[in-house]
Structures are given as structure tokens and as C-alpha cells.
Symmetry: C2
Subunit: 329 residues, 2 copies
DNA sequence: GTGAAAGCGCTAACAT
DNA sequence: ATGTTAGCGCTTTCAC
């Protein structure tokens, strides 16, 4: 592969001029530009990003941290990030951390190493203090999950309000024994959704029964099914459940079906995230939708603004309760 | 952020020595090494990959091309690629082409530009001739979908044999009106699976009815549902369908349910890919499993071997028919 | 309007 | 065992 000097030689100009043509500098004569462009074609030349990046000390690469590729929740957000970034001359590198600190470190180092310009973290398991250190002299944005102390700008939804809205919906349908299938409460969103759950109970004068709250290890289908099995051992069974993830709700739905109960007649179910499968289950699943694509574009725009030296503020996005068959009355 | 020279100065050595320490060269005295390591700590130094990569003219970054993030089919393969790559000192960049030639070009250029070392393409819509051009002087491997003319090494399964196996299973259950929900036959895998479908019909003496073959635009749920609607208008309805993707099968299942037919009693259904959700549907879905994770590690190992200058051969992996509720008799 | 030359941060060949 | 030096490919200041 030819380099800039060979092109310069071929065109009978200096490498500086070739560089000017590449960067569309306005000072180049039309004639020179044509000579250079011809040489570029002839030699099939492609400028090396590596050289350019080293010189400019930027890589135009953005890192997107997610715990794993398997959760469909992230796909639309990623689409938003990708579209916005590409449109603004950045590429994104999707980084699966597997909640593995070592792996996470690799990605942090890429930023320190100048191999990437900034990070959008959607990983709830991220090492917050390390991320904050990094944020001291690098562009960082959080998406969905965020820093409670607000030292890193984020885009997210009001999880407590969303959970409250779900509960209100179920309570209005007449349910008074509503289970919560929550993820590990080390995650901020889990704590927030639980808060919304509890606030609704309180406001509607329903008792809080701790045995109706099940905390899962992860968001796999199996965990949702496991929650239902656990609840079935109670003396007084719940008649509805709010799962903080569609994947959990789908696993729960499966188990409820297996047990011969009818949804929504015998048991009502609500998920969270509005993943595409949630509309394919039988019955279809009531869930909370976040404006995922828009969250993605917003996060990307915040990051790129940071890279341009601007200050950015955190943003709360709207959410929406989507009522489907699993909670019809 | 400090550079290698400042570290050298701080440690009272030359930058070459610092480089030696960084690269664990065996010729450095223990004493010198300690001095250097201390200086590195003091200055909080991180070597710049950019400088290193430029010098070594490699980026240790691998591109993985997929048409879109939304298809869960790819996740396990990607996990395999990622694990193997990271273990061998490479990072992967997940590239969504959206079947968009412009986007695709961006990624090809990254390889030409030395921003990435090689490509694993899982995109059936990839521009094969451009990819072949690139393969002339760059490391390329295909996964799942491949080059019919075998100019680019691939890892894949025997699609025709898999389709044949599915059909044999359905025929043995007594079905003689079996529909095929196929994707666009511009894709090699679609042509191969159709071939298996037709071969089975022929070998078991069943007539080929063209109206029982529905070609979809994409693999969305809706297309699967649409296929069922189309079949329902026929005078003689099929009693079973083989969908070349679980997503299509799940959409079809939904529509069959909506129409009040029972699966598998009234209608049998088989998918392809064994995505995790295929075991969560009601009834669970019979499908064909590919050794996805292993396909990923294999593809990555082939690519890295290429980068090391070795010749590699294409590999056919095994597949397995997983019989679940949707085809019980 | 264009060229010469320095330098981004690193590594490797060569010299000591 | 360590230092000196050149150069990977590019951009940009400074001359002209």
C-alpha cells in the first residue's frame, strides 16, 4: 500500500500538498488538486489513519461498554449511538465487559492509550471509581445506569416513576398481592425501581410483604422462572408480578404457563424494556418502553460535545407504559 | 499524559530502555527495570498504542461484520470470537453494516488504513467482489455465509444437510404438505436450505408445490407471520412449516396461535439457529443448532493464523436437530 | 500556492 | 546491558 510520499512523487508535488488535498484545504489550485487526485487513484492510495491519528492525537473511535451482547435491551440504544457517531465522523467499538474487571481495564486502557477518544458506559457493573478517575481527563458519558453522585454526565429515565406507574396500573386492575422480580440491588436502577414499587404500595395503602420480592443473580430467562417457583411455595400467592426486565418477565411467563395458570386471568405480568420479543409472547407482554434509539443518539451527542470541549448536562428521558395482553382485564 | 521520553528522563535511562522494559525484553538488568517501573508508576504513564501501532504497522484490532445487532443469532458466535481474540491479544470491533454499502466501505477502509488488521465477515449481504479484492492483501475470514467459489476461507455448516434433516423429521411425523419459509434466495444459505428441502421431498416421493415456498425480505417476526397468512389463502393448506430462522418461526408461531390453530396438533413448526428465545415460546420450538461459540473461536483462530502468515483451510462444522414441543407427535 | 522540515510516541538496528 | 538514531505516515508551521 502506497504512502503519502509516493503519491507526492507520482504527482510531482510535496507530501504537504497531498495532505492538503486530502484534508480539503482551500489553498490548493484546482490544477494541483487534479494531479494529486489522479496520482491517488493510480496508486490506489488510502491514507493511514494510524499516522493521521498519531499526529492529531485522536482516534475518532468511541468505546461503548455493555455487560454482554446477549441482552436485546441494548440493541436499539446502540443503533442510536452508532448512527449519530458515524454521522459525526466517529466509529464505535462495542465492548463486552462480561462484568469482568480485567476486561474492563483493557477498555479503559484503550482510552488512556489514545486508541479511543471516549466512552459511553451502559454497564451497571462498571467500576465507578475507576471510571471517575478516567473522567478526570477523558470524555465519558453514562447511559441508563449512572453515577448517583452525578460526577459523570448521563442519559437515563426516571426508574422510580416508571416502577410506580407500573404498580399503579396493576393496583387499579384490582391486584393487591403484587410480586416484584428485581435484579441485584447493587444496581442503581434496581434500587430505584424497588423504591417506586414500595412507594406505590404505601400510597395505595397496601402492605409490603418482603417474601413477594425476589432478587435475581442476572437477567436470564431462568431467573424469571425461578422467581415464580419461589412464589408458588408461599401460603398466600401473588396474583401479579412486576419484573424489572422483559427477559425475566418472559421466563416468568413460561413458568406460569407450565403451571397451568392463565395470563392475565389468573396472573398478571409486567416487564420492562419493550424488547422486540415482548410483543411475540403468548400472551403479549405489558412493559415499559424507553426511547432507546433517542437515548443512544443523545448519549453520543453528549460524548462528542465533551470531546469538543463543551460542558454537558445529564438528561432524563421520558418513558411509557405499554399495555398489552398480559395485563388486560 | 506522560510519554516514553519523560519516563526515560525520570528514570535516568534512554527511551529505548523504557521500551525494552515495556516489551519485557530479557536483556534488562533487574535494577534498571525497577528504576523504570518506578518512574512509570510515578508519572502514571500508559504507553500509546497509536505510536506503537504505527511503528509496528499493526493495530491488533479485528473487525467483525454483521448485518445488524438485533439478530440474536450472532451473539454466541461473537462471544466465541471475542474470547479467542482477547486471549490472543486482539480486540474486536463489532461492525454493523445495515446492509449499507457505504457503511461497509467505512469498515473496509479501516483495514486498508491500518486501523484494523483483519475482518471476520458474517454479513450475507457483503459485497463479495470487494471483499475478495481486500482479501488479496489482508486477512479475511467468513463465518456462516461464505464465498461459493471458496476464495476466502470460511467456517460454516452444511445447510443443505441440515434442511434435509429437518424435512425428514417432519415427513416421518406424517406430514406431506410442508411449507418452506425461506429468506431471500440471493443468500447462499437460503439456496442451500431450499436445496435440502427439495431433495427431501424428492427422495420421499412428495410433490414440490411452489405455492408452499414463501420468500421473505428479511428475518423479522412480521415476515414469519406474513408467510402464515399467505399460506392460509391456499386451497390446500400446509400442515407444517420449516422456517430458515427462529425469528421467522416465532413470528409464524404467533400468527398460527392467533388463528386458533394448535401447535403441534394442527400445525408443526421448525426453526433454525436455536436462539435462546426458541426455548421460551409456547410451545417450545424445534430448531437446528449450530455450534455457535465454537464457530466463533474457530473463525477467530483462522483469522489470527492468517495474520501470522499461515495458510488456512475452510472448515465445516456439525449441526444438530433439537426436537421440542412444536413437532411432538 | 507550495515545499522543507519538524515532530506526534514508539521500536529496532546498530553501536558501544 | 544500554544508548543513539532513524523512521513508521501523517499534518502543520514557517519560508519562499
Amino acid at each position: 500500500m502506497a504512502n503519502i510520499h509516493e503519491v507526492a512523487k507520482q504527482a510531482g508535488v510535496s507530501s504537504a500538498t497531498v495532505s492538503r488535498v486530502l484534508n480539503e484545504a482551500p489553498t490548493v489550485t484546482e490544477k494541483t488538486r487534479q494531479k494529486v487526485e489522479q496520482a491517488i487513484k493510480q496508486l490506489n492510495y488510502e491514507p493511514s489513519m494510524l499516522g493521521r491519528n498519531l499526529r492529531n492525537s485522536e482516534s475518532r473511535l468511541l468505546l461503548v461498554l455493555i455487560p454482554n451482547f446477549s441482552n436485546p435491551y441494548y440493541t436499539e440504544i446502540i443503533n442510536g449511538i452508532e448512527d449519530y457517531s458515524v454521522e459525526h465522523g466517529y466509529n464505535i467499538l462495542l465492548c463486552e465487559t462480561d462484568s469482568n474487571p480485567k476486561r474492563e481495564n483493557t477498555f479503559f486502557n484503550m482510552v488512556k492509550n489514545k486508541l479511543a477518544d471516549g466512552i459511553i458506559s451502559m454497564d451497571p457493573t462498571v467500576n465507578m471509581s475507576k471510571l471517575q478517575d478516567l473522567a478526570l481527563d477523558h470524555a465519558i458519558v453514562m447511559c441508563s445506569e449512572y453515577d448517583e453522585y452525578e460526577r459523570i454526565p448521563y442519559v437515563a429515565i426516571d426508574n422510580e416513576a416508571a416502577a410506580y406507574k407500573v404498580m399503579k396500573h396493576l393496583i387499579r386492575l384490582g391486584h393487591d398481592q403484587i410480586a416484584l422480580i428485581n435484579s441485584d440491588e447493587k444496581f442503581l436502577y434496581a434500587r430505584q425501581r424497588r423504591k417506586g414499587y414500595e412507594r406505590a404500595l404505601e400510597e395505595f395503602g397496601l402492605p409490603l410483604r418482603n417474601e413477594l420480592i425476589y432478587n435475581t443473580q442476572n437477567l436470564d430467562f431462568q431467573e424469571g422462572a425461578q422467581a415464580i417457583r419461589k412464589f408458588s411455595q408461599l401460603e398466600r400467592n401473588p396474583t401479579a408480578a412486576f419484573a424489572v426486565s422483559d427477559t425475566l418477565a418472559i421466563g416468568a411467563l413460561k413458568e406460569v404457563n407450565v403451571r397451568g395458570l392463565k395470563v392475565p386471568e389468573d396472573f398478571a405480568l409486567v416487564g420492562f424494556d419493550n424488547i422486540s420479543f415482548s410483543n411475540m409472547t403468548n400472551p403479549t407482554l405489558t412493559t415499559v418502553a424507553q426511547p432507546m434509539y433517542q437515548m443512544g443518539t443523545t448519549a453520543a451527542s453528549m460524548l462528542i460535545k465533551q470531546l469538543q470541549g463543551q460542558e454537558v448536562d445529564s438528561i432524563m428521558m421520558d418513558h411509557e407504559l405499554i399495555i398489552r395482553e398480559s395485563t388486560l382485564n
